[in-house]
């Protein structure tokens, strides 16, 4: 077999050269006014962003900050949807808002296609991934996921208090995505670090962040080589062999897509599972009803996804534009808050309430438009199975220490410490 020399370069070949892009001043500290100085990285937002978003939606529906080199935060469903649909004015070149803007030449592919891609490249790159993530395809992972959830519950035996975020929720997506990509399951703890490096620590110096990102890509490249040596039936081998425009993929597209699947698949589902368990732990009526009526779970799950939507995305403004009453400048960030959209009273009755039998629920937890979460069917399977197994095995549980619950910082929101009394 011919050697695949696409991956012959060394990952660290950029060496000490500065990575091109625009760095902005790092501004941290308490927010003075959320309408003019918002920051999704401050503890007040992490602890409870919803009152802030509700207040902004009333008095300043497209909030502004000078932090991060300039950013906007729309909180109305209508505005979030309009930006999600408008790929002509808003680029996905970088979807994590930080103090570093990658160079414009990175568009339309971006660093982690297809989430970071714009049309027309986006469509082709996404088409490659879609068949691997249909409802039918991910259903094949369900028996193993269910067995794994049971083994996690088995491991809690004999304990009265457990950390449901750390001991249960986080392990499920890690195992599922490692299996799909064909990575060793024992590397799971490393994936956690990669995710933290990319999604949290946004206000670290950009060069620190770049260094952390290169650790991830070193790992991915090693996995690519392992799969070149020993091809197998998994997503990594699939991406290595996939063709776009009649040619095999550029190595950066292969590792970029692998990075996306690894990073985007973990924190998100972990957060959704954890937030759902958090809600049920503090709402005995809902918990008892779901235990008594397991058939309601698919409906309840959609409500958890609406009201505790874990994912916020970002866009970059392509050119100066006057948009819905504000003057946006080229390269301004947009913090695209699907969680805020999901609580807009103009779109949802009882928007701030958790209604577990809500039948009409046109929420945007998985995004809207061409970037609809490619893993949404996988995420729904994981969330459903995780909750089914938990409720079956541990029907009675409660928050052990409401003050001890901690939440992640940044664009993916979910509980990171969730002490539950189960015995």
């Amino acid at each position: 077999m011919a050697v695949d020399d696409r991956f012959a370069f060394q990952a660290q070949e950029t060496g000490e050269d500065e990575v091109p892009g625009t760095r902005s001043e790092i501004i941290t500290g308490p927010v003075t006014d959320w309408a003019t100085d918002f920051s999704h990285l401050e503890p007040e937002w992490s602890a409870d962003p919803y009152p802030i978003q509700d207040d902004l939606r009333q008095r300043c529906p497209i909030a502004r900050t000078e932090r991060f080199g300039g950013a906007w935060l729309p909180t109305r469903y209508e505005d979030v949807a309009a930006i999600a649909y408008d790929t002509e004015h808003f680029s996905s070149r970088s979807i994590i808002l930080s103090n570093f803007r990658p160079p414009r030449e990175l568009a339309p592919i971006g660093g982690s296609p297809p989430i970071s891609s714009d049309p027309p490249f986006h469509h082709e790159a996404r088409k490659l991934l879609l068949p691997a993530f249909t409802k039918k395809t991910v259903a094949r992972c369900e028996p193993a996921t269910r067995a794994f959830c049971h083994s996690l519950i088995d491991s809690l035996a004999g304990r009265d208090v457990v950390d449901a975020a750390h001991d249960y929720a986080q392990h499920i997506p890690v195992r599922v995505i490692a299996d799909m990509l064909g990575f060793p399951p024992e590397d799971g703890p490393q994936f956690r670090e990669f995710v933290e490096d990319l999604l949290e620590g946004i206000n670290l110096p950009p060069d620190d962040r770049i260094e952390r990102v290169s650790r991830l890509f070193d790992y991915l490249l090693a996995q690519v080589h392992d799969h070149l040596d020993r091809p197998r039936d998994d997503l990594t081998t699939y991406l290595i062999n996939a063709e776009l425009y009649g040619r095999k993929l550029d190595p950066s597209v292969v590792t970029g897509a692998m990075a996306l699947l690894l990073i985007a698949g973990i924190d998100t589902s972990w957060s959704a599972i954890g937030a759902s368990l958090w809600h049920l732990a503090k709402t005995p009526g809902d918990r008892e009803r779901l235990v008594a009526e397991p058939g309601l779970l698919p409906t309840a799950m959609e409500e958890f996804l609406r009201v505790y939507a874990p994912v916020t995305m970002a866009r970059l403004v392509k050119q100066d534009l006057h948009w819905h009453g504000v003057d946006m400048k080229a390269e301004d960030w947009i913090l695209l808050s699907f969680p805020a959209a999901n609580r807009d009273p103009a779109q949802f009755d009882q928007a701030g309430e958790v209604v577990i039998d809500r039948e009409v629920n046109r929420h945007a937890a998985f995004g809207l438009g061409i970037h609809r979460c490619v893993g949404s069917h996988l995420a729904r399977m994981e969330l459903r199975v995780a909750l089914e197994v938990w409720l079956e095995r541990i029907p009675a549980f409660a928050l052990d220490d409401p003050g001890g619950v901690t939440w992640s910082a940044g664009q993916i929101r979910g509980p990171r410490t969730l002490p539950l009394r189960i015995g």
Binding site: R362, H363, L368
Partner: protein
């Protein structure tokens, strides 16, 4: 009643084939497709409405006949 999917709007969220598997299915990329000719038997009208009302992209269209 008939249902149809606007393929220009569908993004493959799959709410229609989740909620009304008797009326919709997914294609190989996860996009929704209408089964048969889209005619909705009276007992499936509630499912059809749920599918339309839950589609995040408003891609599921109901054609009501009188």
């Amino acid at each position: 009643m008939k249902v149809q999917i606007n393929p220009g709007l569908c993004q493959g969220h799959g709410r229609c084939y989740d909620l009304a598997p008797g009326l919709f299915r997914d294609d190989d990329e996860g996009y929704g497709q209408v089964l048969s000719d889209g005619a909705v038997p009276p007992e499936a009208e509630r499912d059809a409405r749920l599918a339309a009302l839950n589609c995040p992209e408003r891609a599921v269209e109901l054609l009501e006949e009188r």
